[in-house]
Amino acid sequence: MARLDEKHTFPGRLIIVEGIDGSGKTTQASLLRHWLASLGVPVFWTEWNSSTLVKSTTKKAKKSNTLTPTTFSLLHATDFADRLSYKIIPPLKAGMLVIADRYAFTAFARDTARGVHPEWVRSLYEFAIKPDIAFYFKVPINVSLKRLLSARMKLKFYEAGMDMGLSKDPAECFELFQSRVLDEYDRMSEEFGFHVIDAVQPIEAQQRQVRAIVERELHHYLAPYLDKARSALPTPQQTPVSA
């Protein structure tokens, strides 16, 4: 199987964004989405952990605090498998451009940081499809923590890795846990060929880079939309194409 290192053959394209919490990847992905939609590209958006199949189970388990690193990992894989078959593959088959906010790499980073065997979690996701572009928004812990605290004021239990018992203080725990996650992402950058974006930069600077990479990497797929968008510009010198 091992599809994560094989190019897929669907007519659509898959772009994924990764990064630790507070890296700003969702902001970047949604700006990318707006741009692509404005070009007329059929965009399909999907997020980590959103299928109805395991939503209630995950919620319940998180509440009762009985998840172990392995069950945590397996539930996310179940959710992912469900989303892959219903939300990712169908639009790819239909030729759409799928943007996934987090992908299997989130599991590799988080689950390994929780102590699950790195080889096991990779084999678990062997059914996943290799993305056409994988962005990694790299940011130091203190920056992401500052962003999260100012936006939400309260760190979530599992996001902060409180289940790991690294520290009683949520902020300290977040730092300890997320730095492990960060190490895993850095390790994967080369393994999976991420496009690394310096996520400390201003939002618009990052977005310019992101769009340039997408235009370059998906040139063939985007060409008809880009051409149409250019020709649709209301320029006075425009001459109608003769039939």
């Binding site: 199987m1 388990a61 392995t70 065997h117 062997e126």
Partner: protein, 239 residues
């Protein structure tokens, strides 16, 4: 005897004091596992052993999701296998390992081999499914109740009507339940037989009567526990 994992294992769980005994009973749907297990439990308890039973798909964690998915028949091969693995992982860490650590005998009604057989019949990648259960604990003994499909059908029909999932109707849509049961269970038996050879299960002829099967099971277990097996009355008198 040292405890081992099937594959990569649970890297964060120390197995050094996980003693006890893990005994697995495998075999087709309706072959009589439940009856045999309750007889075994009583027998072991009379011998003074602490016994805990564990099933397949019973944990509180994923019961809802599995029921939900089964009701809507919306499971595909991947989610089906992943939910069962989640269920097993939950029971392994919260039930099986703690029980073994406390010196219990854990009697497992089905184990990862059921998952392997079901996955193979449904066309899952064999390497993927084996790796998936790489965190599983290797049992001390796997007792396989082996039966042919015709004997099985008769036994099942005498007890109850055919069940949608046991008949494998999820992957034989449109087929008559009887035909589907026969085809599905025959393929399951083939998978079990193949594994029995590969992984050295203790094969018990389940075409026999309940008492005879029980006797065979007790002998196999007594051997693992270093118990002197109780001879059946008839055999003792003959000598």
């Amino acid at each position: 005897m040292g405890r081992r994992y099937v594959g990569t294992g649970l890297t964060y769980v120390d197995l050094s004091e996980v003693n006890g005994h893990l005994i697995v009973l495998e075999g087709s749907d309706g072959v009589g596992r439940t009856t045999q297990l309750s007889l075994l439990r009583t027998w072991l308890e009379v011998q003074g052993y602490g016994v805990i039973e564990t099933g397949w798909t019973r944990s509180a964690l994923v019961r809802d999701s599995i029921d939900l998915a089964k009701a809507g028949n919306s499971l595909n091969v991947l989610t089906f296998n992943l939910l069962y693995a989640t269920d097993y992982a939950d029971r392994l860490e919260h039930e099986i390992i703690p029980a073994l650590r406390s010196g219990f005998i854990v009697l497992a009604d089905r184990y990862i081999y059921t998952a392997f057989a079901r996955a193979m019949v449904r066309g899952a990648d064999p390497n993927w499914i084996r790796n998936l259960y790489g965190f599983a604990l290797e049992p001390d003994l796997v007792l396989y109740l082996q039966v042919d499909v015709d004997t099985l059908i008769n036994r099942v029909l005498r007890a109850d009507s055919l069940d949608y999932w046991e008949a494998g109707l999820d992957h034989n849509p449109g087929l008559d339940p009887y035909d589907s049961f026969q085809r599905y269970q025959a393929r399951m038996i083939r998978e079990f037989d193949r594994m029995a050879e590969e992984m050295h299960f203790t094969v018990i002829d389940a075409r026999k009567g309940v008492e005879e099967i029980q006797q065979d099971l007790r002998e196999a277990i007594a051997h693992v526990l270093n118990l002197s097996p109780e001879k059946p009355v008839a055999e003792v008198e003959e000598r």
